[in-house]
């Protein structure tokens, strides 16, 4: 099984969440630039994927496509690296409402950025920052590994 430290989406979601955090920490603008919309849209998709994730099948109509390994890995990775998320996961409803709130905030930022309360915005920034930092740690770990098609040297640090 793929190790949690080398999930294949580490750079895809790492780039995305780090850009989103950077964007949301900038002074608020009335209009969101097209490029920034792309980033927030993609973040929204990520959170939707997590919500749909196989682990809890929380979607209203859980379908088999929810069982994609990417979703499972991303979700399990976040569970393992985010203690707050893991705590919330003990009660399925708590996790669901937390992630739903993040999703609603991202939708709000795309629709009407000024209508989003600061506290909601901050909660989303915190979630994405913790995700980006966890992915960065994972990327550092991944870079230390030898590619699986290379023979392992006899000695290494």
């Amino acid at each position: 099984m793929t190790s949690l430290t080398t999930i294949p989406t580490v750079y895809k979601y790492g780039f995305l969440t780090s850009r989103a955090v950077d964007l949301l920490n900038q002074p608020q603008a009335h209009q969101i630039a097209i490029e920034d919309r792309d980033v927030l849209e993609a973040c929204k998709d990520l959170v939707e994927k997590i919500i749909r994730g196989e682990a809890f099948l929380v979607g209203p109509n859980p379908e088999v496509s929810n069982l994609r390994p990417d979703d499972v890995e991303t979700f399990n990775f976040l569970l393992s690296s985010d203690s707050q998320l893991l705590q919330l996961a003990k009660v399925e409803e708590d996790l669901r409402s937390y992630l739903d709130a993040i999703l609603r905030t991202l939708e709000g930022l795309l629709r009407d950025p000024e209508g989003v309360a600061n506290s909601e915005r901050q909660r989303t920034v915190d979630f994405l920052t913790r995700t980006a930092d966890a992915l960065l740690a994972s990327a550092k770990e991944s870079a230390r590994h030898y590619p699986t098609d290379e023979s392992m040297p006899a000695a290494h640090d």
């Binding site: 780039f15 780090s18 990327a139 870079a143 290379e150 023979s151």
Partner: protein, 473 residues
């Protein structure tokens, strides 16, 4: 002032770009490696621009984090892909085999491209290189830069790796067909909604077995069962496709490498099914196709006496098949699967229920390129006769005016039968002679493949010019 990490990231991008440009100049047996080198070079240019943009902003934790990601991406993702290009050069590959394999790959996976390359680890492996890279870069690059890099949706480029020192062991490269089958799993799931139902049912099955487990443990078990299921179905599809494309050679080739990969009975760490499980499936597919008699476990439809010099070939192959039947009759792999835990048990029980639909899907997928017992029985004896005379087994020559090209699968089958019947006994008599003859066999097979490609191209051109002449008339 730009900090050290930013400058160093810029330099890394430039170094990778320069190396990709250098590799571009190597001779390759196909155009794919060069196209990929060019993509890497352009990606590095785009990344350099992103780094310059970030360097102009005041240093914050958010900027530092992005620089760190880019730097790690360069060393962890982009730089290692240079080895794919280097390993795909003409010098590093069985160049005469690359073209025919690409052809099979394109037939099975329309729209995809293939890069055949050597790797140092002793294994065959398939990896998608281009679409994955595109998905990663999409999160980083601006719309404009991304479009510049990928004017159309990034198409899949599969790298198919083979063990480096086996470059000239053409017979072993039958395993390529197995690797080309790997990406089919997605298509199998999409082909019919009923194919996905067992995945959905895994949840209920786990819940039945996992009574008392908390929600997180159960979720992880469902995730693990899903991964086991998908990995096992993927291998079954690949093995079945390989058997349909190459016939008995697929089983011969897999049996040579599979015993080195992991235990006969355990699921490997990367979730490959136990190899006893896989060989059982392949043998059963060969029986369904009529290559092997299910009762006697012997080769069907082969007549040694049709070609006197071939006497003994069938009995050697039959002995091998009987040995393989005894290996797969043991069910110790199932004991190991149950010991692995609830997730593995539920997944594999489900997989054994879908074997029929997996095989039907694989058979339909390769229908156009399937290798049949009739072709095998008709072509291989003639090719074996050529091998016995140290001639490349590239065509059937009944007379000077009656020459016929044969299927790639027949060329490789003749090599495998020669190896089992003629070459292996040489080892007992004289090990040095055995090695010498093994090298000769490799050369004859590679030459046959090369001649077969040349003849195929000639006939294609000949056909085109004939069609052109007919039009003019």
């Amino acid at each position: 002032m730009t900090d050290h990490a930013t400058a160093s990231t810029f330099l890394k991008a430039e170094q990778i770009r320069a190396q990709a440009e250098h590799l571009y100049l190597l001779p390759f047996p196909s155009s794919c490696p060069r196209k990929f080198a060019s993509l890497l070079s352009q990606a590095c240019e785009k990344l350099k621009s992103v780094v310059i943009g970030l360097s102009k902003r005041p240093g914050t934790a958010d900027v530092d984090r992005q620089i760190s990601f880019i730097s790690l991406f360069l060393v962890d993702r982009l730089a290692p892909t240079l080895r794919f290009i280097e390993g795909a050069s003409s010098e590093n590959t069985p160049a005469s085999l690359v073209g025919p394999l690409e052809k099979i790959g394109k037939m099975l996976l329309p729209g995809a491209e293939f890069l055949v390359r050597r790797q140092w680890r002793y294994n065959y492996r398939v990896q998608e290189l281009r679409q994955g890279l595109g998905e990663e870069l999409k999160g980083l690059l601006s719309r404009h830069d991304f479009k510049d890099l990928f004017p159309d949706e990034p198409q899949k480029l599969y790298s198919i790796s083979f063990p480096s020192f086996e470059r000239d062991s053409a017979l072993l490269h039958v395993n390529f067909a197995h690797e080309i089958g790997h990406p089919m799993e997605e298509r199998y799931l999409a082909a019919d909604p009923r194919n996905q139902e067992p995945l959905a049912e895994l949840r209920t099955e786990i819940e039945k077995e996992d009574t008392g487990a908390d929600v997180v443990k159960r979720a992880k078990d469902i995730g693990a069962a899903t991964s086991y299921w998908r990995a096992a179905v993927e291998e079954l599809i690949s093995d079945t496709i390989s058997t349909w494309v190459f016939g008995p050679s697929a089983l011969f080739a897999l049996s040579e490498v599979v015993t080195l990969s992991h235990s006969a009975d355990e699921i490997s760490k990367d979730l490959h099914p136990p190899w006893r499980f896989r060989l059982r499936n392949m043998l059963s597919v060969l029986e369904e196709q009529g290559f092997v008699d299910p009762a006697s476990h012997e080769l069907q439809g082969w007549r040694d006496n049709a070609h006197s010099s071939l006497s003994g070939v069938k009995s050697s192959v039959d002995n091998w098949l009987k040995h393989m039947s005894r290996v797969v009759e043991q069910n110790t792999d199932w004991d190991a699967i149950r010991r692995e835990g609830i997730a593995a048990k539920c997944a594999y029980e489900s997989v054994s229920r879908v074997t029929g639909s997996v095989r039907t899907f694989a058979a339909q997928t390769v229908a156009d390129t399937a290798y049949t017992r009739d072709l095998f029985s008709e072509e291989v004896p003639w090719l074996l006769e050529r091998l016995f005379c140290d001639l490349p087994p590239n065509q059937i020559e009944r007379s000077l005016w009656d020459v016929r090209q044969v299927k790639l699968a027949s060329i490789l089958s003749s090599g495998w039968l020669y190896k089992l019947a003629k070459l292996h006994p040489e080892f007992d008599a004289d090990a040095e002679r055995y090695v010498e003859r093994a090298f000769v066999l490799n050369r004859l097979i590679l030459k046959a493949l090369e001649l077969s490609v040349v003849a195929g191209e000639f006939m294609e051109r000949d056909g085109e010019s004939a069609r052109g002449a007919a039009k003019q008339e």
